[in-house]
Symmetry: C2
Subunit: 754 residues, 2 copies
């Protein structure tokens, strides 16, 4: 329908023009009308597929002319596939934003001179005599393998803007950075940008099964159509790679960490190769999640013991097979001895012995192993949040050089709020890879507007005190604290086949902010939000400020209506949809205690919260001083984490003078209220947002408003059954009874593990 | 990316225009250039989402001017939602194709006069004084409730084209018909079209589960996002309804016939209502598949016995509940006592007793029951193809007035070729609804180009001889043979969340032809193909002819490389992907004999084929004379059905002089060869097809070429193991061994029942 409309307008332009009277004023006016039509019609056609790369025309003439003056004509030197892609991108972007034609392309040899009138030149020194002729000092040395340089300088006494780098990947990132400056309305007349990524592996983890079911996926089925691969190459694969490249993501784990061993069979490896070939020009490497018992399951070996020679030989042969198809294959991601997955523990071996065996198979090819620390199987009697630390800290220093241990940001499991995992800062000899969750398993699926930037920032800026004050998690992850050569950040993708990629338009912001932070963990997520809004929704300053404020508050709002004051893991059973603090009240024998809600909130007649101090599970001992001391006392524990570390009486008085019960209730109502206000605020932005995007968010906010109230009412009623206290003054009574909420069931809620 | 490009061009137009010199010639030329750009850019952006409604500009000036003269300005009278939709459609369609603006709208009252300059008027007599003032005779009486009239006449001494009907649905269908004339380049200067649908219920059956898994779905997951309904109303729901309306489909069964009882719970009925409200203005009613044991499963009753008063009361209450939400709810589709589904048989009751109970619950509200005849459970000892007839024929005349018995086109199960089901013509007192399969469960999923028009046409034109020669299946289905008041045709949808709706662009043609045949079973599917190609792919006559020839031959080609000479049901186990004639050679005890391939092809050392004559299962007795006699003798049995009715010696000589073995091999090779040629032919059409559509089909044809050869080689090798004969002269030896083909496994092939 989209193109018809654009088309209709264009067609009318042309018919009218052909029949119009001949005077310049008329035509200028007519041109302006055409443009207005175009802008309006194109806005109507925007459905979210274009993400933050749906380049819009810059309608401010002065601004546009300034960009044209500085950047047009442009050219890209080089013959590589990546150079071709950069040409396409500049053609589309500068064409759409500025209305400029592509510069002369494709007629360069490695040593030719650039077109003399070029104002923008994108090239590596190796491929450009012009770049080589410029005095760039050691800037290119500083930006390294993936970094870039964007510089306004002079060539043959003419001003020129260059985007240069040591690799094509660097050019790619630099180009997208330059385009971002235009998209966000920044000046480009005097640029001197030097940028290099803080982490080496910036990877999306897709929890996608081979039947296209996405575990914890809320945006439709997997975008990988394994059945039609390798022959059928969906356009979406290219658009996905482009989007990742635009935010510096350079790796993709294609399949679920709960891995199907078939992914390593020849039948599937040719499909993996097809995707790897598509992604390569975008600077993206392919990784696979592997099942540790593959040698037995598909290799026909009697064991998968990592110390067994035949097992080792099987993995080596498999690695050789993979690299013969995919020379730049990234490596393996492994979930072992966790939630029923097989692992070295099944054979009495350690995680290090398991990881190192795989590392040895990959090392000759330059591949890496990303070994997850998310384990809580072994010490069933030990409190869950302690187990990863207990199991991995002793292994520090025993992993191969090409192994990263991938640690979830929190000790439990991607909760709305947790303290950072004490493993960060506990394994100085081991590169620790951050694992964030982008998909909102515990944060409202794809119907809640929750900007995760502040959550990520809170974790990265947290101080571990591992080497004294300033030993932030960010410095652990980017390797600067211990000087690791290999570093990485992983994000569990929120991407599916939904037309808008993430189900919720604002889910795109979480994909975006993950990429930006993996490149630079120090940057402000407020600034990232601002950029994303301008690139995706609107460039109206007032609207941008309103939306940015909404985004920045949204995570705290979700914490308030779901799990305030350090509560955690009280979501619906299995699918984690909606509130269910009552799970475990009557626990069937098969149910693990640490899968229940009551295990985590520990509500009883006297109070609420999980005691993780010395009098309890003593998790605080896993943190460095002075955190250990601070967390040991509720008075010095941040209010936001209070019930995560302490079991406190219902009448416990908080800093603000409220009792625990009063504050708990107040925060639930505050959270639900804030969502209702978000919805109202959004309604006021209709004029500024492309209609389809506006409507999508509006419908989602209606659901979020309803579900926030559901969370509030169910949790307040449930905890009230323990506190035995009435609602404080001024809080309206829930509509339904606790029994009503307990009775709700959602057998087909999406994303459940299976 | 799409709109950026269009946009870029448009933007350039405008900038250039504003700066161009002022002389008319230049501008006219410039207008032409704009148009060329637009056409090219818009073509690039076409990805298949627009189906046959992706209105393209008519570039032939004479033709375009003719249409404009005849139809512009246009207007639609009436205030209903449907009238508004018709206005939108005409605005988009005539804007895109002709570049004309919308006529004045929204300022009519029921008795006002139409705008005097209108050249096209769309309205019911009830809502238009102009229509009432015209002498239309009893034409409107003839076209009935859903039919329409398109007429060139005169009003106030001026020529006027009218689209009129007794209902808004009729207007909708008439409008799309008129637009189709423009899309296919036909004259509109002197129209006199009267059209009414041959069948009353023209229904798509979605085999969609509530978790979005589509049984036998090959175009991605279900388009129904049950989790986000009722609040989140995807744009796709509207576009889906529009597409159906454009081909006269007026009913949709939302969920799988293997029904989840939860669909009838209040939690889901509000979601069903949301879809019904969206579909209503498009003339589409919603139906539900129901599980016969719902009273027990969700009603908490001890039984679901249709003769139990409480069960009857439960269904009546449920019907009342549904109609209170959805006043125009269509009714129930039921799969009972088939493939493990519960049914009246579980309580010793007949299909009629079960169907009538539901019919009685729906009757007060005007709802219908569509009761499937696809059963083969009861008489396990009786050959499967006979059972539906045995079970249903005796019930003829015992069903309520609002019950239709829905019969699959063939006695087995949607095979590439079967004889028509003998039930057609065996139940004169019962309205029999045709059930075609649009999704290609047995015909290559969504990667094989197989136009199903000829298959449908073959069945509909088949003569049952029930009342002597000329008693075609079409006449049974459209009610004309026995004068039934209620009639219908169902198609099992091939629609999923894939951007192009059906996975394969040519799958769209199967959706299209089903709708056209449900409206008029007598129309030529060759003409329908021609229209679809012009509306979807190209209007270049030479290309149209080439593609049409390809489509018309494609089904016979599939029969040849899959199941020539009447072979059937030798596909892969469960998922039905690829060849597996060996299934059942070693039959596990749990496997039903009539689920195996060997049951159907009955290959042995002496020969091949299933004996269904008197010497065998005697299915031929279920057919009327003279078919019964013809099928009893291989010499008078159509070669295409030979092995469906007869077990013949390998050396049996066919009419063309070939032995059975020779002909079998020849047809497999012919089929595979024809696919390879299709692929070559398609490559030659690149200049005529929008690039994305061209590439999609090209990739699919590469897969089909490979899989056709796989079918050929696997089947020839397998049957050779029985015929013990070498390949005839001139047929290349298969690349792999029979063991290789037997060893292939596809655990994640899509669409498997589960």
């Amino acid at each position: 329908m989209i193109n018809q409309r654009l088309f209709q307008r264009q067609f009318q332009c042309c018919r009218l023009m052909a029949t119009l009277g001949v005077n310049a004023a008329k035509f200028a006016m007519f041109a302006a009308i055409c443009l207005q039509f175009s802008v309006a019609e194109a806005a109507k056609s925007r459905d979210g597929y274009g993400l933050w790369l749906d380049y819009q025309p810059i309608t401010n003439t002065r601004e546009r002319e300034g960009y044209i003056k500085a950047l047009s004509p442009w050219q890209v030197e080089g013959e590589a596939a990546t150079a071709d892609f950069i040409r396409q991108e500049l053609t589309a972007a500068l064409g759409a934003m500025l209305g400029v034609e592509a510069g002369p392309v494709g007629d360069y040899t490695h040593n030719s001179l650039a077109h003399p009138v070029a104002r923008l030149l994108v090239a590596t020194p190796e491929e450009s005599a012009v770049i080589r002729s410029l005095a760039l000092g050691d800037a290119l040395t500083r930006v390294g393998q993936e970094g870039y340089l964007i510089k306004t300088t002079r060539y043959r006494d003419k001003p020129i803007t260059i985007v240069t780098a040591n690799t094509h990947a660097g050019l790619l990132y630099g180009t997208f950075k330059l385009l971002q400056l235009l998209q966000t309305g920044q000046a480009v007349s005097n640029l001197a940008i030097e940028s290099a990524p803080a982490t080496k592996l910036r990877v999306l983890n897709h929890w996608d099964n081979l039947d296209r079911y996405v575990e914890r996926g809320y945006a439709g089925e997997s975008i990988w159509n394994w059945h039609k691969l390798p022959h059928y190459k969906s356009q979406r694969y290219y658009d996905y790679a482009r989007a990742n490249a635009s935010i510096g993501i350079n790796g993709v784990v294609l399949n679920n960490v709960n891995a199907d061993p078939l992914i390593l069979t020849p039948q599937y490896l040719v499909k993996v190769k097809a995707l790897a070939d598509i992604f390569r020009p975008y600077g993206i490497k392919v990784y696979l999640s592997v099942k540790f018992s593959s040698p037995n399951l598909i290799g026909g070996l009697p064991t998968s013991d990592p110390l067994d020679k035949n097992v080792q030989a099987w993995w080596q042969a498999k690695a050789n097979e993979i690299y013969s198809l995919i020379p730049d294959f990234g490596g393996f991601l492994v979930k072992a001895n966790s939630e029923g997955q097989p692992g070295p523990g099944d054979f009495g071996r350690s995680h290090a012995q398991g990881a190192n065996m795989l590392a040895d198979a990959l090392a000759p090819h330059g591949g890496n192993v990303m070994w997850r620390a998310f384990v809580y199987n072994v010490e069933a009697n030990v409190e869950r949040s302690k187990q990863a630390y207990n199991e991995f800290k002793p292994l520090d220093g025993t992993f191969r050089q090409n192994v990263l241990v991938q640690v979830k940001n929190g000790p439990i499991d991607f909760q709305p709020r947790e303290p950072f995992s004490p493993l960060f800062g506990a394994m100085p000899k081991t590169p620790l890879m951050m694992e964030f969750q982008i998909t909102q398993e515990y944060l409202g699926f794809s119907t809640h507007l929750v900007y995760l930037g502040p959550l990520y920032e809170e974790v990265l800026k947290a101080d571990t005190y591992a080497k004294g004050a300033g030993s932030t998690v960010a410095k652990v992850v980017d390797g600067s604290l211990y000087g690791h050569g290999i570093t990485g950040m992983a994000g569990v993708a929120n991407i599916g086949s939904d037309r808008n990629w993430t189900g919720h338009i604002f889910g795109q912001a979480n994909w975006y902010v993950f990429g930006q932070l993996a490149w630079n963990p120090e940057v402000s997520t407020k600034q990232i939000a601002d950029d994303w809004i301008r690139m995706t929704l609107t460039r109206d300053d007032k609207a941008v400020n309103t939306i940015r404020a909404m985004m920045m508050a949204s995570r705290e709002t979700a914490v308030n209506y779901m799990t305030p004051l350090g509560l955690h893991h009280i979501m619906g059973w299995g699918h984690h949809y909606g509130p269910a603090p009552w799970i475990g009240e009557q626990k069937p024998d098969w149910m693990r205690e640490d899968w229940t809600s009551v295990y985590y909130h520990s509500a009883n007649a006297t109070g609420l919260g999980k005691d993780r101090t010395a009098s309890g599970s003593n998790v605080i001992a896993q943190y460095h001083a002075p955190l250990r001391q601070a967390y040991s006392d509720p008075k010095t524990t941040p209010t936001e984490l209070l019930l995560w570390f302490h079991h406190l009486p219902w009448h416990y008085e908080l800093a603000n003078g409220n009792s625990l019960w009063h504050e708990l209730v107040a925060r639930y109502y505050l959270g639900a209220q804030a969502v209702a206000e978000m919805a109202k605020t959004w309604d006021g932005l209709e004029a500024n947002i492309p209609p389809q995007l506006f409507k999508q968010v509006q419908m989602a906010l209606a659901i979020q408003t309803q579900e926030a109230a559901w969370w509030r009412d169910a949790c307040v009623l449930y905890f009230q059954s323990y506190s035995k206290q009435s609602l404080p003054e001024g809080f309206a009574k829930p509509k339904h009874s606790l029994e009503y909420y307990k009775g709700l069931s959602f057998p087909h809620a999406p994303g459940d593990g299976r």
